[in-house]
């Protein structure tokens, strides 16, 4: 396979898994944050909000130390693997999913939820109604999360290691680390080409999701 195609597909796969994981974990968290009341709820909310802009290098450094063979999670063998990058990016974008969906569900919550209840819906039916209404915003949160994951460098570099062997089975080079390396090597043309591919992906995915949103929701 052509290396550029291989790298592009890997970027999509790694960050796609990260975004799906973050959504599956993050959306239930935001439902919990909206529909239940418990002590420290506001604290958790502001924690997620605060983590929205966590620098990827800092995150990468923590994960690198935690996942190194002598670190506490070294036994998982996740350092310098695709799965390692996916899980790292998942942690990075979890706050995006949680914060975005929490605030969008909150906005819809009161009116729809109470209306559904007065129309004799059960609690869980009313909750589903709210989620249904908030779906476009949740989708938007998913895209924002995916775009942040695929465009970040720090975690992909420190946890992934930019490994590439021709026809290798355990490569970890993704678009961002490849761009960084080609710039360092002075191969600006390839770096630019990869940069346009990355921009293209981000743009096309946003476009497709916008169309999906308009047609189906």
């Amino acid at each position: 396979m052509d290396p550029i195609i291989e790298i592009t597909l890997r970027s999509l796969k790694v960050s796609g898994i990260a975004a799906i994981l973050a959504s599956v974990i993050g959306i239930p968290i935001s439902l919990l944050l909206v529909f239940t009341n418990f002590k420290g709820k506001e604290l958790i909310k502001s924690l997620f909000n605060g983590l929205l802009g966590i620098p990827t290098v800092v995150m990468g450094l923590f994960l690198y130390l935690l996942l190194s063979p002598k670190g506490p999670f070294g036994f998982l063998n996740l350092l310098y693997t695709e799965m390692g990058i996916s899980l790292g990016q998942m942690l990075l974008i979890l706050p995006i999913v949680v914060s975005f969906s929490t605030s969008s569900i909150e906005q819809i919550n009161i009116e729809i939820y109470e209306l559904a209840l007065t129309l004799s819906a059960s609690k869980s039916e009313a909750m589903m109604k709210v989620i249904n209404e908030a779906l476009p915003s949740i989708l938007l949160a998913f895209i924002a999360a995916f775009n942040r994951a695929i465009a970040e460098l720090g975690i992909a570099l420190m946890v992934g290691g930019n490994i590439f062997v021709y026809n290798g089975l355990a490569n970890t080079r993704v678009l961002t680390t490849a761009i960084q390396m080609h710039v360092a090597r002075g191969e600006i043309d390839i770096a630019l080409e990869l940069g346009f591919i990355l921009l293209g992906i981000v743009f096309i995915i946003s476009l497709v999701m916008n169309i999906v949103k308009r047609v189906w929701l």
């Binding site: 190194s68 063979p69 089975l169 355990a170 390396m181």
Partner: protein
């Protein structure tokens, strides 16, 4: 009922993740993988990509992690890599003294160069390196020239620090003067910065030739004389007793080391980049040590040996089992 659904979803989800994880770990077991932390100047020339290709055909995947020499050694200390390719003797010695590394072999050398603007405002062209550094300080203090340093504790940066010392200056002190700039980044970026600012800098030959060839920089080689400029690359194996490494990792690493200093490896090194740049980026070191070719032999001894050997007795580990001898 609703709780049950949630539990089922969570379980299915967990299963998918574990399967993906197991699949990836399994894929890694199918091939032999060796992790090698390397200095960027070796990696960025593309030489190691060639090496990786050759070993891929032999069924071994070499995973090169490119970092500065300091970071590469740190990787090894954390138990990540099985061997390191580096070029800073003082750090290598410390690394072995702490018990992390064994069986050091010198496998390549080339020369650092001082590059600067073509009109050479400091007038250092053709000078000996120590004289040139003194002249740059003098002209810098008059505000006529700028010096750019990597400032990243890479092998190149460490060489620069020792050159300043040889010229009678303290790096920590002069780096605060206003004609002195630090980029804190790789050689390529530093060359681009120096070219834009019409400044002087210390560079490795490989990166300079590459950037020069592609017309990205307007810098000329001004100083390439002086034994102090020699740049010596060595390979160190991570000590299996200290690095949580299996016997198999060690065995594989020793095979790679043996290949690097074999005729095949040395020949690849000699010819790499010749067709593109018109001259070798690296010179093989083994023949120099074997035949004591002067003056390079005494320079390698002076700047690359530790206590009179490339690898003193106490840092050797089962090397004779693999047919490796030390000079």
């Amino acid at each position: 009922m609703k709780k049950l659904k949630v539990i089922v979803i969570v379980v299915i989800f967990g299963l998918i993740i574990t399967t993906l994880y197991a699949f990836e770990q399994n894929k890694r077991k199918e091939v032999e993988i060796l992790t090698i932390s390397t200095t960027t100047s070796l990696y960025d020339t593309g030489f190691l990509d060639e090496v990786a290709k050759i070993f891929k055909e032999k069924g071994v995947e070499l995973h090169f992690i490119a970092k500065g020499t300091g970071a590469a050694l740190n990787d090894a200390k954390l138990g990540i890599s099985d061997m390191v390719l580096v070029h800073a003797r003082s750090k290598e010695e410390q690394f072995m003294k702490e018990g992390y590394g064994v069986n050091r072999k010198i496998f390549a050398y080339n020369f650092f160069i001082i590059v600067g603007p073509a009109d050479d405002p400091a007038g250092i062209k053709g000078m000996n390196v120590v004289e040139a550094m003194k002249k740059i300080v003098e002209m810098g203090r008059k505000g006529k020239v700028i010096w750019v340093s990597r400032g990243d504790l890479s092998g190149t940066n460490i060489k620069e620090i020792s050159l300043w010392k040889a010229a009678g200056f303290n790096y920590e002190e002069i780096k605060r003067e206003n004609w002195f700039r630090e980029t804190g980044s790789g050689m390529g970026n530093t060359l681009l910065y120096a070219s834009n600012k019409k400044a002087y800098t210390l560079s490795d030959t490989g990166t300079y030739l590459k950037y020069e060839k592609e017309g990205k920089i307007q810098l000329k080689i001004l100083v390439d004389k002086g034994e102090q400029l020699i740049n010596i690359y060595s390979v160190i194996i991570v000590n299996p007793e200290k690095g949580d490494k299996t016997e198999r990792d060690f065995e594989l690493a020793m095979k790679i080391e043996k290949w690097l200093v074999s005729d095949e490896g040395q020949e690849l090194l000699r010819n790499y980049g010749k067709d593109v740049y018109g001259k070798s980026l690296f010179y093989p070191a083994v023949e120099i040590l074997e035949n004591k070719i002067e003056p390079y032999y005494s320079w390698i001894v002076k700047y690359g040996f530790i206590n009179g050997s490339e690898c003193p007795e106490e840092y050797r580990y089962k090397a004779e089992d693999y047919g490796i001898t030390f000079w």
